[in-house]
């Protein structure tokens, strides 16, 4: 099979072969690694299981990070959900709770799936699992959704970066939300071109988002950016399924993301030397954690 170097190529290949993004990712991986479809399905099911665990733990009981900077918010949202008072409805609240849960488990040095990174580990599980519940999808279908997300990730990884130290938060949470939106579009019956449109729209909306972790820890503002990324992904999937396209195609949007990321000053690329990290409160929190006050 021809290997796509860009979104436009991947869309062409999928159209030529009449296959989905997930099927592309599976065939490519089988060829590249010389493994069977069964092995890949099993590995992705393990990935889904680990995602589900991380997205659940913090909702069942309050989980706090080792530093104590964050924690208990997923549990708070879960209780809010049960109260039935939410403005935006169950799906969105649950997605935010799941995203926060994974982020809290991560901060607690618990087990998560970096998807694509640990700092952005809440977004894809929250989006896939919430969409799965709304759409009544089986685990087999969700596994396919994850392969679709990975297909878009292959293009991002080849042409840009997932690293906050290189491209800011837009490269981490932005990529996660783009991949998640693309995956949900496929789960909802959208075409590969529509999935990439969803990815492009997400990147537009996070362009310039900096990486500015308070105390250098993947906690503040990362956890809330995971909640926000999950909402953005779900909303964008709805936009695209309603027939709204992206005027700027995915490859262009991705190129812009990468260029903007490289243009960010070092202070705003995971060094904890700018943004929220150096606000008076951010500095005070850092001193509290590391005792440098």
């Amino acid at each position: 099979m021809r290997m796509a170097k860009s979104a436009i190529e991947m869309i062409e290949i999928c159209e030529e072969m009449q296959i989905s993004l997930s099927e592309y990712a599976i065939r490519r991986e089988m060829e590249d690694r010389g493994v069977s479809r069964e092995v890949l399905m099993e590995q992705m099911q393990e990935t889904l299981d680990a995602m589900r665990e991380g997205a659940t733990l913090g909702r069942e009981k309050a989980v706090y990070s080792l530093s104590g900077l964050i924690g208990g918010d997923a549990f708070r949202l879960e209780q809010y959900l049960a109260s039935g008072k939410s403005l935006m409805g169950d799906g969105i609240i649950k997605a935010m709770a799941m995203a926060l849960s994974s982020s809290e488990v991560n901060g607690a040095m618990g087990k998560i799936v970096a998807c694509p990174t640990a700092g952005s580990c809440g977004i894809l599980p929250a989006v896939i699992l919430t969409a799965g519940e709304q759409l009544e999808k089986t685990d087999e279908e969700l596994v396919m959704g994850l392969f679709a997300a990975a297909a878009m990730g292959l293009i991002i990884g080849q042409n840009a970066t997932f690293s906050g130290a290189e491209g800011g938060c837009q490269a981490e949470c932005g990529s996660a939300a783009a991949m998640a939106a693309g995956a949900v579009v496929e789960l909802m019956g959208g075409s590969p071109a529509m999935s990439f449109d969803a990815g492009a729209i997400v990147f537009k909306n996070v362009l310039g988002l900096v990486c500015d972790p308070v105390a250098g820890l993947v906690e503040i503002p990362c956890a809330k950016r995971n909640a926000s990324g999950a909402v953005s992904a779900l909303a964008t999937a709805d936009l695209v399924m309603a027939g709204v396209g992206s005027h700027i195609p995915f490859d262009d949007a991705l190129g812009a993301m990468y260029k903007v990321g490289k243009g960010l000053p070092e202070e705003l690329r995971e060094t904890a030397l700018g943004g929220m990290a150096t606000t008076p409160t951010g500095v005070a929190l850092k001193n509290k954690v590391f005792g440098n006050a």
Binding site: A25, R28, E29, D32, L40, Q43, M44, E46, T47, A50, L66, S67, V105, N106, G107, A108, M109, G110, K111, I112, V113, A114, C115, P116, T117, A118, G119, C121, L124, L146, F147, A149, A150, G153, L154, I156, G157, Q158, T161, F162, S163, G164, A165, E166, A171, M179, P213, A215, G216, L217, V218, E219, E266, R269, E270, T271, A272, L273, V289, F290
Partner: protein, 226 residues
């Protein structure tokens, strides 16, 4: 980033909190341990860029040591690695450093092994838990853990490369990527071969017999979630 796979994007399954600063660091440590290939007495980690600024908060120190101890990024003992090292008598030290024009997440491991041999291994965590070892004892290499990687240190003389690649040919091993560098004409040279598929470990023994080859290191792929 070069050839990214599905489980590089969705993975690794790991202990938090940071793929580049925790999981990648654990992989760098483990790769350094594999390269040395002998029990390690002490390591001084020279930390550069974002590693230098944020290593404590991300558990980069614990993860690097966990890797040196042979742990994978999803090992729940990772968070106690510093205590485990102390109990095992492994001496570790962390030194902020400027390593020049390298990736922001870079570490140079100054290692002393059990026979008092010194090693300098430089590697970067390039995002999402992916790593690249770039230098061994000052020689440029490229080890990503994606392929089976064979490294030879040998005298810079005609025929050595042909003999090594000939042995691969005889064993029907395909060379995917190849890099050859020498420190000085006629002196030492280092070759990195990335190979397709799994390779029997006795390949190392056979290549060691090639005249002029002083050291052979064989590194297996890290695998999807390892």
């Amino acid at each position: 980033m070069a050839n990214v796979g599905v489980f590089d994007v969705l993975g690794p399954i790991m202990i938090g909190p940071s793929s580049s600063h925790t999981a990648g660091a654990a992989r760098l440590g483990k790769m350094a341990r594999t390269i040395v290939g002998r029990p390690i007495q002490s390591v001084n980690f020279l930390l550069h860029g974002s590693f230098k600024e944020t290593y404590k908060g991300h558990g980069t120190d614990r993860a690097l040591v966990a890797g040196i101890l042979g742990m994978n990024p999803d090992d729940v003992r990772l968070r106690n690695a510093l205590d485990i090292a102390k109990a095992k008598g492994l001496k570790v030290q962390f030194t902020p450093a400027d390593l020049g024009d390298v990736h922001p997440n870079t570490v140079k491991c100054l290692i002393t092994d059990e026979v008092n041999e010194s090693w300098e291994i430089l590697g970067s965590s390039i995002g999402g838990g992916l790593i690249e070892i770039k230098e061994i004892n000052g020689d440029k290499v490229k080890i990503t853990g994606e392929y089976t990687t064979l490294i030879t240190c040998h005298e810079d003389q005609p025929g050595t490369v042909a003999k090594v690649s000939g042995i691969c040919h005889e064993r029907n091993i395909n060379i995917a990527f190849m890099q050859l560098v020498r420190s000085q004409k006629g002196q030492g040279a280092t070759m990195t071969l990335e190979l397709d598929g799994q390779v029997a470990s006795d390949l190392t023994e056979e290549i060691k017999k090639v005249p002029g080859v002083s050291r052979v290191i064989l590194i297996n792929p890290l695998g999807g979630n390892a």
